[in-house]
Amino acid sequence: MFGKKRVAIVGAGLTLFRRNLKETGKELCYEATKMALDSAGLTLKDIDSVAFGSAPDAFDGIHMKGENMIDSAGGWRKPFSRVFVGGGTGVFTANAGWWHVASGLFDTCLVVAEEKMSSCYPHPAHAFTTIFDPIMSRPLGTTLIWIFALEMHRYMHRHGIKKEQIALVSVKNKKNALDHPCAQLGANITVEDVLNSEIMCWPVQRLDISPTSDGAAALVLASEDVAKKITDNPVWIDGVGWCIDSTYWTNRDLYYPDYVEYAARMAYRMAGIKNPPKEIDVAEPYDPFDYKELHHMEGLLLCKKGEAPKLTEEGVTQRDGDLPINPSGGLLGVGNPIAAAGLMKVCEIFWQLRGEAGKRQVPGDPRTGVAQAWGDLMQYGSVIVLRR
């Protein structure tokens, strides 16, 4: 095995995901953290360190917001630090928790991710206008959706993919989310509903997109010897990976996410995975837009380039298919409080591998799962591989 110590997940917590929650960011952190600790049968006394994750300060409206959240994430008078890699933050925070324990410095680490997007008023979209280059992009009035539309269109063009194929992802994930108790947008919709929804930035339509949300998620990590005292069924973090591509996104061919592939290869190498489609039983790729699930399945090497739409059409990615993808309902269905949404995916794989996912449980006794998030200017991939 890799690393000094093998690292286990022994508990998980999650709040509701909603467009507006009454709770402050601090209160959301507390709720998720408390649930994760309770589920592991631990208290804050048992925690040695905290890895915190949250996306732009502009959402919560607090500069250095990690510092503001310390107490609520269990970090008071403990080694606490925040990692931040845009939309990739949620999964990456679990990676950060891994190195706290794998380094041998700590026996336990709390992993907490929070986002309170509704604090950016009247619309969280405002925060996104400041993510662009101030010389090349901001003067043009660039928006988040339009850069993703450029990527989606390029992906469709290179592989000859139809909107109908992509819409199937939205239909599947919103349906899966009906079984998720925290979900914001679980629904039974049809491909026609997606294709008839209002055009945002062609080819992106309203139902191709995940919502803005408030929410928090948390995990408790422990070293091997400590984990075995806490639980009979730990879930092991066997691989972590991350990668960033160039800032100059207009200089890249957007049809394929190289950075996700590099991140996946890093994580698979650590986990000893040689044949991802065969060895991975369930996956939670990042799906803030429906085409991103397909894009990321390809980047995660779960299928060949351009093949993900076909697998989706064939039902392979359904919860009862050969390779269940986003059984949680993903960001499209559960919601997208950015960092919390990424960590929600790690929580889902944890529950799936423990056989505790209830109505969402994928059949076939899954043993290996992968979660992935994506961020920055279409340039960041973070990946984690979990095994029972």
Binding site: G11, L14, L21, E31, I145, W202, V204, R252, C347
Partner: protein, 168 residues
């Protein structure tokens, strides 16, 4: 555990409750103002836009001609100080028609945005800009386009010195 948990934390609010002031809130408008130094590479780029030209840098090692220009090649990690003009024509690499403004409000006439691979730069060296003088439904991949510049007296040394690109 997920299956065993009966209740998840969180009190949902309706947007109207917030809008109508039915829940207590604290408001603040951040005063965050910046004046970024454009730096060596982009200062020259912006000055050349004023002259109606697009300037790039070339890497001595890999030979790439890069737009926007930079004082280093990120692939070779070498300084670059070879300056070269590229054309103000190019091909559409990918495009979109935006019906949404930055504040998430809807706009009637969509803004057509595109990545334009500039002629004279290395393959795939695109810049982001708008497309004009065409209905968005008629835009095609690989379409040839040319910059439409503001009149010289209106140029400020900004990317918006190019009004948009139009089909040729």
């Amino acid at each position: 555990m997920s299956a065993k948990i009966k209740k998840y934390a969180g009190h949902p609010l309706k947007s109207a409750e917030i809008r109508e002031g039915k829940v207590p809130t604290a408001r603040w408008r951040p005063k965050a103002k910046y004046m970024w130094s454009a730096g060596v590479a982009m200062s020259r780029f912006l000055n050349e836009l004023k002259n109606g030209r697009i300037i790039a840098t070339r890497c001595n090692k890999c030979g790439r001609i890069m737009v926007p220009p930079r004082v280093f090649c990120e692939q070779c990690f070498k300084p670059t100080d070879n300056w070269t003009y590229v054309k103000d024509t190019g091909t559409i690499n990918t495009y979109s028609a935006s019906f949404i403004a930055g504040d998430a409000s809807r706009i009637k006439e969509p803004i057509i945005v595109a990545i334009i691979d500039l002629d004279g730069a290395s393959p795939g060296m695109g810049i982001q800009h708008k497309i004009g003088e065409i209905n968005w439904k008629e835009v095609k991949f690989d379409m040839k386009v040319k910059a439409v510049w503001k009149p010289p007296e209106e140029r400020k040394g900004a990317i918006t010195d190019i009004k948009y690109f139009k089909p040729v």
